[in-house]
């Protein structure tokens, strides 16, 4: 087993990375003076992994939404469900599926070891039968319908559908009522046996814990896991978007929009990531000229925001929020970006945004849940949080200028609008 300590003087913290003999990567981030602990285990498997093969086996295509369905079903075992087991330790448990990963977590203030045993046990012990699979159709069906009624969710997926030709990121994480009807116990096992291999997973624990405590439970609960070659297939995705505009009418009183810039999807290291975060803050945070212009023209309100949206094989920058005139808002954003690209960004904007991103990165290391989630996300995206923090501090104005020239192609973006039946936008 090899254990590395990762330290940051800037953050005043350190944590451990361990390659456990079972194949699992384990992170332990002790927090002095804290009563609680938060543990999260994730597999590098999300909704986009819908076509795959294991070693030299055949290529398998599975129904949309199966990763999320699996997450729901993994809580059940022959003896009952994991929530009931956690009820005996007092831990608060949950799980989520995103485009690129599936995670199971709990937080507790007492009986940490027992709760960690429950977590490692149920995640390692699938139990799918035709009856238990059928029972979940109604529950997940209602989850899907809840999202169908969410304009925030729809405005994003409508945009992704018109941005990506082939990439499965355009498909709803939970699938559709029709696609989940095709899910069977056998298909769930196919996915589980491929992706829930400890070599494809990571555990992260933060708070009132020591590395020894966590490793002792791992030793007890985990058996060495043979490493396999997992291959996920993604069709070739062109650089260009599909369509520049899409709209949908909805029972809303506030129209809303997402304006997404499709970006090249190659991997960004911590330096490039830091530059991107600072740059986006300079361009569109409430301190920016753009934000001010949009507000003064009554084109946005305080719901306006932006996001660097990325994962395996996709990356986009999305600006969005509520607007009574989404087309005008989008036009102003595009014109502003084109202008900054032509004239170079403002130096003072750079200085203050760098401080803000630096402050945000340190503040995020405040709570055990936030820490564990950050370390885990960085693990799956091939980053390390303290390296990122150093990269923020080291970013120069010149770096930002170069980065800007590489991204935000104003001829390659999609505007998605949700409006009421009556409204003209």
């Amino acid at each position: 087993m090899n254990m590395t300590e990762i330290k940051s003087d800037r953050a005043g913290d350190s944590y451990y990375k361990i390659r456990h003999s079972s194949g699992l990567t384990v992170y332990v981030y002790p927090k002095k003076g804290y009563r609680s602990a938060y543990a999260i285990i994730g597999t590098n498997y999300g909704s986009v992994n819908n076509c795959f093969s294991l070693d030299d086996g055949e290529k398998i295509t599975v129904p949309d939404g199966i990763a999320h369905y699996l997450e729901h079903k993994l809580f059940e075992s022959a003896e009952g469900d994991a929530f009931t087991r956690y009820a005996e330790t007092g831990a608060s448990a949950n799980a989520y599926t995103s485009f690129e990963k599936t995670c199971y977590l709990f937080s507790c203030t007492d009986r940490f070891e027992e709760s960690l045993e429950i977590l490692l046990d149920f995640v390692g012990d699938p139990y799918f039968t035709p009856e238990t699979v059928a029972k979940e159709q109604g529950i997940i069906g209602q989850e899907i319908k809840m999202y169908d009624d969410s304009p925030d969710w729809r405005v994003m997926f409508n945009m992704l559908e018109k941005m990506y030709h082939n990439h499965p990121v355009k498909i709803d994480i939970a699938g559709t009522v029709e696609s989940i009807a095709q899910i069977t116990a056998e298909k769930l096992y196919d996915c589980y046996n491929t992706f829930y291999n400890l070599n494809n997973m990571a555990l992260c624990v933060a708070g009132n814990v020591t590395a020894e405590q966590v490793l002792a439970i791992c030793d007890k609960m985990l058996k060495p896991c043979e490493k396999h070659e997992i291959h996920s297939y993604f069709e070739e995705e062109p650089y260009e978007i599909v369509e520049p505009y899409v709209e949908q009418t909805f029972p809303v009183m506030m129209p809303m929009f997402n304006l997404g810039f499709k970006e090249k999807a190659e991997h960004l290291d911590e330096k490039k990531l830091a530059q991107t975060d600072i740059l986006l803050s300079m361009l569109a945070s409430p301190t920016s000229r753009l934000y001010r212009d949009l507000m003064d023209a009554n084109l946005i309100n305080s719901s306006f925001g932006y996001e660097l949206f990325e994962g395996p094989g996709y990356r986009a920058v999305i600006f969005g929020g509520e607007s009574r005139a989404p087309r005008q808002a989008a036009e102003m954003i595009k014109q502003y970006i084109a202008k900054v690209k032509a004239e170079q960004p403002d130096r003072e904007d750079f200085e203050i945004s760098k401080k803000a991103i630096y402050g945000d990165s340190i503040s995020a290391l405040n709570s055990v849940s936030s820490i564990a989630n950050i370390v885990l996300s960085h693990h799956f995206s091939g980053h390390e949080p303290f390296t990122y923090l150093e990269a923020v501090a080291a970013t120069t104005y010149e770096d930002i200028c170069v980065r800007l020239s590489e991204m935000l192609d104003v001829t390659n973006c999609t505007l998605s609008v949700i409006k009421s039946a009556e409204a003209e936008v």
Binding site: A11, G12, K31, K32, G33, Y34, R35, S36, F83, T84, A87, T89, G90, A91, A93, N94, S107, C108, T109, K135, I139, G141, Q142, E143, K145, M146, D148, D149, S150, P151, D152, G207, P251, V252, M253, M254, S285, P286, T287, Y291, R292, M295, N298, N301, S303, E322, E351, I352, S353, K355, A356, I357, Y358, G359, D360, I362, S363, N366, S367, A393
Partner: protein, 421 residues
């Protein structure tokens, strides 16, 4: 747990501070309590927005935002909310602790001054606020009201409360009404500002590592020149239901919503409120609650079905999203679980595991700045602060009989259904 220090700094103004070195951030907030009323709610909410967007030292939104950004991305937030029949205007500032500044700046001190600045030295034009600032904030507040309709779960819950409490002060929304927001003027907001500083009951909360003395001093000085006349607070608790109110609304949605409002017959600071809160958690507050296990897991009717107890107003709200054709079945399923509780069908495991889950949440709250603030702020309308240990001991002492009695006090008042067309 962290201990709190409480000092009265003016008539009806209290400064509460928790010194804690574990965190990388600090937070200072001013909570201004005034009686909720249809006449003043909109002006107060609009005023809060106007105060938070600029001040004398940073006279426009961009200048203020840039100052916050330069303070390592500090936040200045404003919130208008309800606690029983009170409207609470919360203005807060949070940011990085001084230890982490790259150039040795004192962020905490600057943020304290900034928060005091926005409250006491706003951006004025004579005895009125600046018209352009008011117009911007008015537009945005009207947007917020419209956007509540976008989220059907929020909308359905809001409609249920409106119908249930139509004849009570509590029926007034936290932002008041669009009409009153439109009618407010820069002059009327100035009067509202003076009234708020004079009549509100004020609780200031500070959580951080550096000494809060500077902030306490600035607030003390500022309140010295104000002729204080704090208004007493009270909340009307309805304990009986004559007739169940029912309303169904049809909208083009995929999922129907069912929201049920109950009178719980007790509210803080009555001691029965503790059993009511635990009863509500057993019913629908956890992933092993009766509603989760039976209505969701066994009957597969819904994805969420949750029960919440409003301890200030003494009402319980249960809400769920469901297939249109299953609304009645869901309502029956929910009522069955409540009947069971009234009849004492509650296992020791349900009681003990829920107590453990609640205590776990209590203890976990002490590990975040927001959690510590919420722990104390949520007790501001009660009879003094309790520590987590004291609250846990009181919770553990609740008996099954008290839980059953709390369930028996539940009376269905209003059923609101948002149905798919």
């Amino acid at each position: 747990m962290s201990t709190i220090k409480r000092t009265q700094i003016a008539d009806g103004v209290f400064f509460n501070s928790v010194k804690d070195s574990r965190f990388k951030t600090m937070k200072l907030s001013a909570n201004l309590y005034v009686p909720l009323s249809a006449e003043t709610a909109s002006e107060n909410a609009l005023l809060a927005g106007v105060l938070s967007r600029s001040c004398k030292a940073y006279p426009d939104f961009t200048a203020l935002s840039r100052k916050l950004c330069a303070l390592y991305g500090a936040d200045l937030n404003v919130l208008a909310h309800k606690a029983g029949d009170n409207q609470v205007i919360t203005l807060s500032a949070s940011g990085l602790d001084d230890r982490y500044a790259m150039e040795g700046e004192s962020i905490a001190r600057e943020l304290s001054l900034l928060l005091c600045g926005v409250i006491f030295e706003p951006n004025l034009s004579g005895r009125a606020f600046v018209a352009g600032e008011v117009e911007q904030e008015r537009r945005q507040l009207l947007d917020v009201i419209d956007s509540e309709y976008n989220d059907k779960r929020i909308y359905a819950n809001g409609r249920m409360t409106e119908i249930m409490c139509a004849d009570e002060v509590y029926g007034v929304k936290r932002y008041g009404t669009a009409e009153a927001i439109k009618a407010a003027t820069p002059e009327s907001l100035y009067a509202a500002w003076e009234r708020l500083l004079r009549t509100s009951y004020v609780e200031i909360m500070y959580i951080g590592d550096s000494a809060p003395d500077k902030a306490a001093e600035v607030f003390t000085d500022a309140f010295r020149s104000i002729g204080r006349a704090p208004v007493k607070q009270s909340t009307q608790i309805i304990r009986g239901v004559k007739e169940v109110k029912r309303e169904t609304e049809e909208i083009e949605v995929s999922q129907s919503k069912l929201v049920m409002g109950f009178r719980a017959g007790t509210a803080v600071p009555e001691k029965e409120a503790r059993a009511a809160s635990l009863m509500c958690s057993i019913l629908g507050g956890t992933a092993t609650s009766k509603l989760f296990c039976n209505v969701r897991e066994k009957q597969s009717l819904c994805y969420y079905c949750a029960a919440r107890y409003d301890k200030y107003k003494g009402i319980v709200v249960i809400d769920s999203g469901v297939e249109g054709e299953n609304v009645e079945k869901l309502e029956k399923g929910i009522m069955k679980e409540i009947e069971d509780m009234k009849n004492g069908v509650i296992s020791d495991f349900e009681i003990e595991s829920t107590k453990m889950a609640v205590i776990n949440a209590y203890q976990g709250s002490n590990d975040t700045v927001g959690g510590i603030e919420a722990w104390y702020a949520s007790q501001l309308l009660e009879d003094g602060f309790k520590t987590i240990e004291e609250a846990a001991a009181l919770l553990n002492a609740i008996t099954k009989e008290e839980i059953v009695a709390a369930a028996q006090r539940l009376q269905l008042d209003t059923v609101y259904v948002l149905k798919n067309k």
